[in-house]
Amino acid sequence: MFTAGNHAGGEHHGLQAVTKLSMEIKPAIENGTIATLCRMCDTRCSINVHIRKGVLREITPGQINPVNAGRMCPRGKAAIDVFYHPDRILTPLKRRGDGSFMPISRDQALAEITRKIQFLRAKYGARSLAAWKGEGVGFFQQEAYVRRFVRGLGSPNYFSNDSVCFSSRYLGNLLVTGFWSPFPNFARARLILLLGTNPPVCHPPFMRSFADAREKGARLVVIDPRLNPIGCRADIFAQPQPGTDGALLWGLIRALIRAGEYDRAFVEQYTVGFAEAAAYAERFTPEYVEQASGIYASVVRAIARLLMENRPEISVYAGAGLEHYENGVNSIRTLVILATLCGTVDSPCGLYWPENPPLADLALAREEPLLPKQPIGAGRYPVLYDLARECHTMTAMDYMEGKGDYPLKGLLITAANPVITNPNTRRVAAALAKLDLLVVNDLFMTRTARLAHYILPAATFLERTELHLNLEYQRLYLTRPAARIDGVGTEYELWRDLAQRLGFAGEYFPWPDEPAVCRHMLAPTDISFQELEAHPEGVVYAPLRYRKYKRQPLPTPSGRVEFYSTYLKEHGLPALPEYIPPRFRYGADDDYPLMLTTGGRMTLLYQSRHQNIPRFRLIHPRAEVEIHPDNARELGIVNGDLVRVVSATGELELAAKVVHKAELLKGTVEIYHGWEEWPANLLTPDTLTDPISGFPLLKSIPVRVEKVSGDQAAQC
């Protein structure tokens, strides 16, 4: 059933034989249950791994962690499918001249990688080397290892998946309130406003909070070009043109200000730039918003009324749907300003200002910035580097192609699959192929791994000891391995062993193992390793306290909520989050009459992960381009037809799925972004970016759709 596509699963360069080694599994216990946290997505629900006769048999939900409250999702249950997956890479692999791979010992792999790193560092300088962390290993502790390693190497170049997901929301929040607000406590809201997000699929625990709030009479407003089932429960569901949320949000700001229905006391005491924002908002009349976004003026007024009636008990949440535009950060800033006017800053259901535990600074965030070493992308996107302290992955391609200020020659990638997940994927593959050294640490032979000189076998989350931080509930967790596999190292072992060979382990990785790292991180806190070990459901490190801005200034340059950012102005960027209409709104292109959005989530899959789990593949056997029935009719396309989607960047052949007329805005087509065999990012450009975060345009790409032939599935 993996043969549905044009890039069938067979082309593994003779890897089947290499990877089909027997797994020497060492379970933590022969019989019993290991309580841990799930990392099949980043929600991190409590789970129990049941082990019988040394075999991981089943996963059931943990009962007392408030994150999941005794329930879990089918993704988490399949962590066992991943752990025992027959395609797992179990030994280091080295690429031969003909592109095939041969197994080598871990010692040989690390020795050869070390020699190559030393050679490149001597010849081109330390900054010709970089590391890139993917979503697969998570953030926090696993991310900190990579940041430490890069620093130890002497390079400023740390890359991550955050370049195309999350950073825009992070910056959008930081630039206004100075802090990253975790998920709001929706259960306490009287009005929930969701934009560009599909929580039942991408944040399943939100569902419980939504239902709790709705049972108490809360209203729900859903803004999305796509009608997901949650839209069926909405009091107001509105379909904007992609990328026009900023216009709607400014329209709502204008309505609140004109009606005088905003938190005046808070605005006077704790904000800067209100007058400028109020003046700028003037042009966003409901009629203007209708023209700009496609949302009827009457609907804009109705949403504004709901905001006025329910403030300050309002939860707003924007998903990745708002990020992937040229105006992403500013749309999110506008949303944060709207939430501020509603009086929700640091309130129970609003923009909560989380308190961090006093952990040791593993990521070395408080050390001097590496700006003098010219981190890649820091010149083009100084705000991204300044606030997120990471490099820009799209700019990395220039450096690999020799068009940067200096060459990028060696790259170590862990748990990332940029050949699928970064825009303009054909260029990404070509750029990676130019490297003198590409090392990929992963569970499976991804498209990215196939380009590597060395592939290292990675461990799953079930094989690690690590700390987890949950800002929403202000809890710390410790997870312990359910099993280890002979020859498969953890992330820590990888970075520590490489650092040892390169001579900087003493300074950067002095701890013998991960439990020792965790103890080091916990040392400044009053929570012990043993206490966390005894409480797999997590330990509250600080009670939730609200309205803290009354006692201490907000962490912005002015100490207040910034409607107007002098900091951005100093960087030559608009001080107000001005609304710039997406490029396609200027005029239709006859060659590319439809608008492609990518990145909408699917059940069971998570970014580019989980598509090789056979039972998941039964549900989602192939990629589909979703199309409105009117557009399909015009093009002579019926459900299941093989079609070609063409953009200015590239083209992709896949099956068509004609959706219900209400499901997608007419003129919009959608493709899931994570498929190995059908990379949607063949179509996405890497040149149109958000000027603040450098985020790519992934959600309004002009395309055309052409019918190729009848239903492919029917022919198999």
Partner: protein, 163 residues
């Protein structure tokens, strides 16, 4: 007797119950049809999720000419004996709720058997729209519940508020 109860207003059609039921059926036979179904009507904007209510009267049992349906004495679930079922479909006609169906490949009747007393669909319902319990007990809880909710009270006891 314990049943799977669907609190429809809480359901957001994430489809997790239907997915996990598919996997559960798949682990036993080649027929992967789920015994809980989530239907989304995009015209009416309606979400309808339904599964067997394990009725006390169970007209499906009485309708079966082959005596292939019976109540599991341990769980109280109405179960199908696949080896006896002839696929005549009378139970499907008899069910007032449409919660019995014919497996497409094996051509025998199929319905929810409560996974032997630990229904997987309830474990994966993160909206807490599905509950497994004695129906009278669930009704009592719903009556007494502060806001009519059956959702577990898992508010962190250590958390305090100062708002």
């Amino acid at each position: 007797m314990k049943v799977v109860y669907v609190d429809l207003d809480r359901c957001l059609a994430c489809l997790s119950c239907q997915r996990i039921c598919t996997f559960q059926q798949l682990s036993r036979s080649q027929d992967a049809d789920p015994n809980i179904r989530v239907q989304v009507d995009m015209d009416q904007r309606l979400i309808l999720t339904h599964t067997c209510r394990q009725c006390a009267s169970a007209p499906c049992i009485g309708s079966c000419p082959a005596e292939a349906m019976a109540r599991d004495p341990r769980t109280g679930a109405v179960v199908v004996h696949g080896a006896r079922c002839t696929g005549c479909g009378l139970c499907i006609m008899a069910c007032p709720y449409g919660n019995v169906h014919l497996m497409p490949n094996l051509r025998v009747a199929a319905k929810c058997d409560l996974c032997g007393g630990d229904p997987q669909c309830v474990q994966v319902c993160m909206a807490q729209a599905l509950h497994y319990g004695d129906i009278h007990e669930l009704i009592r809880k719903k009556r007494e519940g502060s806001q009519g909710s059956l959702a577990l009270d898992v508010i962190n006891k250590k958390t305090t508020t100062s708002d």
